[in-house]
Amino acid sequence: MTNELHRMPSKPAISYSHVTKSFGSLRAVDGVSLDVAEGEFVAIVGGSGSGKTTLLRLANRLIEADGGTISVEGEDVRGVDPVALRRRIGYVFQSGGLFPHLSVADNIGITPRLLGAPAAGIAARVDELLALVQLDRDAHRDRLPAALSGGQRQRVGVARALAAKPRIVLMDEPFGALDPLTRDALGDDYRSLHRKLGLTTVMITHDMTEAILLADRIAVMRGGKLLAQGTPAELSTSGDAYVLELLRTPRRQVERLNALLPQGGAA
């Protein structure tokens, strides 16, 4: 199903074409071309300094490209007002990025408020989103971010990104700082939201296991270059040693776990 989707000649939601971006003498993104189809979930995998975060931020013009072309839903982003662009693309920040002086409800409702939505409409939308990300309305609505656990904060971060009903969501290592149990649950929950709402999602992660479990397609970056892209199965046929090594790691971990844990013990 997912393979068919990306092979259909549908118009890409996000399209990078020969994109470059340098910071001083450092080439952070070096001639990257990548299409993300509508409804697709793409994970960008790479180590720190690989250029994955820069690539993500170029899409909503948090960073401006030096060369190449980026289009979102068919429009060249250079022709779109950056503020309007960011309001129609959801963005989930690393460890939440919640405003500490605003309540959960005010954090979630911020983009609709910027778009001039009426207060009653925003309140109803906040309640709807709290239910969507599985947070108890009465217990959490009026709390400040400091009073939430890491997982709850990230759920609020996801709710905030979805508040203005975007068709595209960008996620910057959204689950990286969470404990493994919370991380697993949150990943699964987001994956089903992505499907249910028909979103296009681009997620950054340094964890190949997470990428394999959540994404339809994986793009591997290193030193600003896109080394490979495709489904996990397609990646395993890649000739690149670094890509193969990344793919082998999850399996090796499973084998070691199997050896260490008694059979069926985890159940």
Binding site: V83, L98, H101
Partner: protein, 519 residues
């Protein structure tokens, strides 16, 4: 008990609504202006390191100027500005009192507000500014919805510091004509009324403390995001401002304002003049503690209606004359010159308060010194003390020239301490005032000036231009002209220099009137 039973506490308390109200009014205005200028500057320069550094450097330099000097500087500055606007636009404004005090204090409040504003805005987690951008805020929305609220606790701490500084420094605005809690302190220091000094210090300290605690409550509320605490603090501030301002408002207009410089004789005479006007059925108040360079300008501009000045002072400072004329001739010439500015020289009070070289009688007799000529022979082994302005005045230059005076050392002193210093032998000679009561008290002698190097200093009554034709006023003052001789004034000044309930200027003024009014 006896300390608290002192009636001067009651007298001090009676002034509190006026002094406190004016103190809070000028502090509040200065702080508001300081904030209105500094906060936008902090916001504008937050992403521009170079102008930010320049701004902070300027604010720091301003801070190193002593408060008293900064306040004093604003008076001539505004006089100049007022004359420029008068020449160019035909409008003028008062350079006296509220305006210069407010401007100087506003300038003084800028450093803590600027520094904390910049620190607060630059200390915000860059990830949050990125998040503000990411959710679709414009730069302006990010500033208003995210950066300012997050910087607010740090900014509030700066505002708190500024408020305490301004309240403390506002006590120094008395000499430029702004009534404040400093009136207690200046009057108390000049008339040795330690009750007033203590009262003024306590009142301003308590005010600063209360404001500090209430602003601290707001700051804490902002830090802990507790609306209740912030609201409580703000309500406290509002209540404090209302409580201090309301009693001083709705008072009848001041009527005639009698100006007085910053020494005991002037406090006594201004109280006497005020009492005379009130006895004649006129409404009058005394505005005392004015700097001696401020008072003439204030009279000319009509900020005060009348004052006592000294012929020699005006001769040198306003007419810029260095030649010396006999008493009557000098006053006649002065009268004509002042009339050009529409100032009325109503007449002399009868005594002279000149600078004079003074030393203990016993010492003078032992050395055989009776005149300044005699003194010149011993001067090279002697030290001399004068008030803060004496050594830069033309009289000092004239004395040195006429007698070839050259002392071993010269020192500046608070006038009230000078007499005790010469009596105890801490200095050998002082430049005292002929009408000072302490001359008799310490058994000192005034040296003759045979070469007439020091001009006459007759006490004269001056009226502001707007009172030139005011016959009721003149009629009320006429009985005083020529009535106060030097012995009486010395006696009055001696009484005023005591530290007890009978030494307050009001009491001494009544004594003085009983003495001269019956003649």
């Amino acid at each position: 008990m006896s300390v608290l039973a002192d009636p001067r506490w009651g007298e001090a308390l009676a002034h509190l609504p006026d002094y406190l109200g004016n103190h809070v009014r000028v502090s509040l205005a200065a702080l508001a202006l300081g904030l209105a200028v500094s906060l936008p500057l902090a916001i504008l320069t937050r992403n521009h390191p170079a102008p930010r550094a320049v701004l902070l450097a300027i604010a720091s330099i301003v801070q190193t100027v002593p408060g008293l000097a900064l306040l004093a500087l604003f008076y001539p500055l505004l006089l100049l500005a007022a004359s420029v606007t008068l020449a160019w636009f035909g409008v003028s404004f008062s350079a006296f009192g509220f305006l210069p005090a407010m401007l100087a204090l506003a300038l003084y409040s800028m450093l803590p507000v600027l520094r904390n504003g910049i620190t607060g805005l630059n200390g915000i987690d860059p990830a949050l500014i990125e998040a503000a951008k990411g959710v679709g805020m414009t730069a302006r929305q990010s500033l208003i919805m995210v950066e300012l609220p997050l910087a607010l606790p740090v900014m509030m701490a700066g505002i708190r510091t500024a408020a305490v500084w301004v309240i403390g420094t506002a006590t120094l605005s008395t000499p430029i004509g702004q009534t404040s809690l400093g009136n207690y302190i200046f009057a108390g220091l000049q008339t040795q009324n330690w009750v007033f000094v203590l009262f003024g210090c306590l009142a301003s300290a308590l005010l600063a403390l209360a404001v500090d605690q209430l602003l601290g409550l707001i700051e804490g509320g902002l830090r802990q995001r507790s609306r209740a605490r912030s609201v409580l603090g703000a309500a406290g501030i509002a209540a404090l401002v209302a409580a201090t301002l309301v009693p001083s408002m709705g008072r009848s207009s001041q009527g005639y304002v009698v100006g007085a410089k910053t020494f005991a004789e002037q406090y006594v005479l201004s109280a006497l003049l005020r009492d005379r006007l009130q006895a004649a059925g006129l409404s009058a108040t005394a505005r005392s503690g004015l700097g001696s360079s401020v008072i003439f300008g204030a009279l000319k501009a009509g900020d005060i209606d009348l004052c006592v000045d000294y012929s020699g002072t005006l001769w040198a400072n306003q007419l810029h004359r260095t030649d010396i004329k006999p008493r009557a001739e000098l006053i006649a010439e002065l009268k004509t010159a002042l009339a050009k500015d529409n100032i009325t020289l109503l007449g002399e009070l009868g005594f002279e308060n000149a600078y004079a070289l003074v030393l203990p009688k016993k010492r003078a007799e032992a050395l055989g010194i009776r005149t300044i000529t005699d003194l010149a022979a011993h001067a090279s082994t002697m030290s001399i003390a004068g008030d803060y302005e004496f050594f830069s005045r033309p009289e000092w230059a004239a004395l040195q020239k006429a007698y070839g005076l050259s002392f071993r050392a010269q020192r500046q002193m608070q006038p009230d301490f000078m007499y005790a210093a010469v009596a105890s032998g801490e200095v050998d000679v002082i430049a005292g005032y002929t009408s000072d009561g302490l001359i008799a008290k310490y058994d000192l002698v005034v040296l003759d000036d045979p070469r007439q190097a020091i001009p006459p200093y007759d006490a004269i009554l001056l009226l502001a231009p707007k009172r030139a034709g005011d016959e009721r006023l003149q009629a009320a003052l006429k009985p005083l002209l020529g009535k106060i001789d030097i012995a009486t004034m010395r006696d009055a000044n001696l009484r005023a220099s005591g530290n007890d309930a009978n030494s307050s200027p009001d009491v001494v003024a009544k004594w003085l009137w009983e003495k001269v009014g019956k003649q």
